[in-house]
């Protein structure tokens, strides 16, 4: 990591240290525990910067170091961008691996659910813009995130949105390699994944961003399927069932069978659903939620879309709405988040 100063090896003699935690960071309180990690809040002693320490249990499980921990280290080490969570440090103590991450007190899901907060259209634009910038950075480094959803979009105290949780990320490898289609939280899963495609591209992330965009406008999940079968139904009811005409060869995908054919929504229907959206906003949404992944826009096209240049201007991150009262934080604790999501 080209992040911190390596020379800052502290003198190590710290009176308050009880466990062999590196004296550069303090572990103040435990904020969550998942199956493979415990998350603590703390401070970087030298800068007083707030940080989160993800302590990964190793060797306790039958398959050793968890895949998601490997992915998190592997990809976050390489990515440094204002809209991607920063991995500050990696160190090991006795039998644990510790990841020191930027501390981010809030996530987008919390704000969406807080009905006391009003979203202006410029706020939505600002969040979407930051998300797309982060996604663009991942994609230009050939990394698929594969789990974009509001509660993985964390918010820094200065309003910056940061993409977190790279536990499912992977690099785009050989084109002939098979990828697992069992990725992305169900409501944000692109149709090619629902159909069980073994080959897919960055377009799966774009789909998720599109659905998040819709959720920001609606303030409620756009495609909340109850299970994997229902997800297909909910998705196509809203956006039309794909056929071989609009998506060549879609019917060859493994899970494409016994589908109820819904017509694609008319522009007017979408306009009714997203009453506050401008024409440009609708255009962008339609581009990002194209059924055929090859027709979906990529992050560059999305970022250059007119939606971002038309008035109103995207809100400055520091002026974005924030969560008012202090609530326990769930930074990086994917598991509890995942459960909360399902309830």
């Amino acid at each position: 990591m080209a992040t911190e100063v390596a020379n800052a090896v502290s003198n190590g003699i710290s009176s308050e240290v009880k466990s062999p935690v590196q004296s550069k960071y303090s572990k103040d309180k435990k904020v969550g525990e998942g199956t493979y990690a415990v998350v603590y809040l703390g401070n970087q002693i030298s800068t007083k910067r707030k940080i989160a320490i993800k302590e990964i249990k190793t060797g306790l499980f039958k398959d050793g170091l968890d895949m998601s921990a490997i992915r998190e280290v592997k990809y976050l080490q390489e990515l440094k961008h204002p809209n991607v969570i920063e991995l500050i440090d990696v160190f090991s103590t006795s039998n644990n691996l510790n990841l020191v991450l930027e501390f981010l007190p809030c996530d987008l899901e919390v704000l969406i659910k807080d009905t006391s907060i009003v979203f202006k259209s410029s706020d939505i634009k600002s969040w979407l813009l930051m998300t797309l910038r982060g996604v663009h950075h991942c994609h230009r480094n050939f990394i698929l995130h594969r789990d974009l959803k509001p509660n993985n979009l964390l918010l820094a105290p200065d309003g910056q949105l940061k993409i977190a949780d790279f536990g499912l990320a992977r690099s785009l490898g050989n084109p002939n390699e098979e990828l697992s289609s069992n990725v992305v939280t169900r409501w944000y899963r692109a149709p090619e994944l629902l159909f069980g495609a073994k080959h897919y591209t960055v377009a799966v992330d774009i789909w998720s961003v599109g659905i998040i965009f819709a959720e920001l406008m609606l303030r409620t999940p756009y495609l909340p399927g109850k299970d994997d079968i229902d997800q297909l139904d909910v998705t196509f009811r809203a956006l039309g069932t794909p056929t071989d005409q609009i998506w060549p060869n879609v019917s060859n995908l493994p899970q494409y069978n016994a589908l109820k054919i819904y017509p694609p929504p008319s522009r007017q229907e979408l306009r009714n659903r997203f009453s506050a959206a401008t024409d440009n906003a609708l255009d962008l949404l339609i581009l990002m939620t194209q059924m055929d992944p090859s027709r979906r826009c990529d992050s560059t096209q999305a970022l250059l879309h007119e939606f971002f240049t038309e008035a109103p201007r995207a809100t400055d991150p520091k002026d974005l709405p924030k969560k008012k009262e202090k609530k326990p934080v769930n930074e990086g604790n994917d598991n509890s988040n995942a459960k909360r999501r399902k309830v």
Binding site: M1, A2, V5, A6, N7, V9, S10, N11, G12, I13, S14, S15, V17, K18, P20, V21, Q22, S23, K24, T58, G59, K62, D63, G64, L65, M67, I70, V73, K74, Y75, Q77, E78, D89, V90, F91, S92, T93, S94, N95, L97, N98, N141, F142, I143, R170, S171, G173, N174, E177
Partner: protein, 456 residues
């Protein structure tokens, strides 16, 4: 960053806090005990003198031959596993990279590695095959080819013809496991009672010579029999403990020094380069074979993959292997002029971002490799014994080419040019796992890639 340390890649330790110092000063109050603190920066590539130096430390002179023979067997063994599990070749490359890296910082200890004789955890952790399976296990996680350890282990042990259900000399500590084991024993017992007496299956059969009677008591139904791990269980235990050690050896650097977009392995890059330079099928195939031969060598520890790939292509175009035996595909041979044109047009720095020196280093390595090991290589199986044109052994082609390349500028690193400098580099010590246990180790990715990527 870290420029205070010699070489610019840091091995730093505050001398007063070194773990050794910890050991000799057992001060009374626990709270004031200084915590050892080490920063380890990943070094994905070493110079050949560094490798020699490390090997001198980790492998006894008398065992050098044994080491390379074992490495070759391990390579075949891993290849079998990968073939059976249908993993891509890059998993094999990563596995062999990890395996070789392991023996840079860990002693090659063959005294005890005979599993059949000594079925203990300590022996397992020294067994090159167990280490190789661990490398493979981590490699497939890192390469996103996920398989359960259980499955990998099953394939590995089947290839080695090891019975996983056999009992070892290592006693279990976990009560759950013990209970499970006991249940196992009971069923075993009930089956064997019909036959003979002594096969109560508590003690491994081979232990009779060493076990010296620990629980050899036969049908001791009244006293709770001591329970032992089975080979499978112990293998798993060893793998998990080795995995954490291996992670420290690779310094938690999952990108092997490259950035994620550079992380492509040689075989992937080779295909792309061949396409770009418009190399025909036969020559591409030759490149591929050379690449396969290079996987178990130390070249991937010295030179990054893109430079290796380019070096392979340059060697191939120079050798012009028209006589490569491939049955399944026929294409038109390029003329000599076309080939030399292609060769002349390769600009390693601009088109391929490969520093000349590193490519040269790889070229020399490849030629040396074939000059010495041609008969054992995969390539030799695809070429006729005698070269048609010269009427000589194929090896002479490599020798001839090497003499042509005699004046190539290759890698010289001032930082590792003398023995003195090497001994000063604390990074090049056998890795002490207890440091992380006593204090903490901080891991950072390397900046060594400056060596081949100027823009970083």
């Amino acid at each position: 960053m870290s420029n205070q340390s010699r070489n610019g890649d840091g091995y730093q330790r505050n001398p007063s806090l070194s773990p050794q110092a910890d050991g000799v000063t057992p001060t009374g109050s626990a709270s004031s005990v200084p915590i050892a603190n080490i920063t380890q920066i990943a070094r994905p590539y070493f110079t050949s003198s560094e490798l020699r130096y490390l090997h001198n430390k980790s492998i006894k002179e008398s065992e050098k031959l044994h080491y390379s023979r074992t490495k070759h067997q391990v390579f075949q063994f891993c290849f079998q596993i990968i073939k059976q599990l249908k993993f891509p070749l890059r998993v094999l490359s990563t596995t062999m990279n990890y395996y070789q890296r392991w023996y840079l910082f860990n002693k090659f200890d063959i005294e005890q590695h005979d599993v059949e004789d000594k079925l203990t955890l300590a022996a397992f952790e020294k067994d090159p095959y167990v280490i190789a399976t661990t490398c493979l296990f981590l490699a497939c996680k890192n390469e996103d080819c996920i398989k359960k350890l259980k499955d990998i282990q099953a394939v590995a042990n089947k290839i080695r013809e090891i019975d996983e259900s056999k009992y070892t000399n290592e006693r279990t500590t976990s009560s759950i496991l013990a209970a499970a084991n006991a249940a196992n024993n009971n069923t075993n017992g009930s089956i064997t009672t019909a036959g003979s007496v002594n096969n109560a299956a508590v003690v491994p059969s081979s232990s009779s010579n060493i076990g010296s009677g620990i629980g050899v008591s036969s049908g001791s139904s009244s006293i709770p029999a001591p329970v032992y791990y089975t080979v499978g269980e112990l293998h798993r235990k060893a793998t998990l403990s080795l995995e954490f050690k291996l992670l420290q050896i690779i310094k938690f650097d999952f990108n092997n020094g490259g950035s994620t977009n550079l992380k492509l392995t040689t075989d992937q890059l080779l295909i792309q380069f061949c396409k770009k330079i418009n190399i025909n099928y036969k020559f591409s195939m030759f490149c591929w074979l050379v690449n396969y031969d290079l996987i178990p060598t130390s070249l991937p520890l010295t030179v990054p993959p893109h430079c290796i790939a380019l070096a392979i292509i340059i060697v191939t175009l120079n050798l012009k292997p028209f006589d490569l035996k491939i049955a399944h595909f026929k294409d038109v041979n390029d003329s000599e002029t076309e080939i030399s044109e292609k060769l002349d047009n390769i600009d390693s720095e601009i088109d391929f971002k490969c520093p000349e020196v590193l490519v040269n280093e790889a070229i020399i390595f490849i030629l040396d490799f074939y000059i010495h090991e041609y008969s054992k290589s995969l390539l030799s199986q695809y070429l006729p014994l005698i070269d048609e044109k010269s009427g000589k052994d194929q090896v002479f082609k490599f020798m001839e080419l090497k003499s042509k390349f005699n004046d190539l500028r290759i890698l010289t690193e001032k930082s590792s040019s003398t023995q003195d400098l090497l001994t000063q580099d604390h990074y090049l010590n056998i890795w002490d796992y207890s440091i992380a246990a006593k204090g903490s180790t901080r891991f950072m990715s390397a900046n060594k890639r400056r060596k081949f990527a100027k823009e970083l």
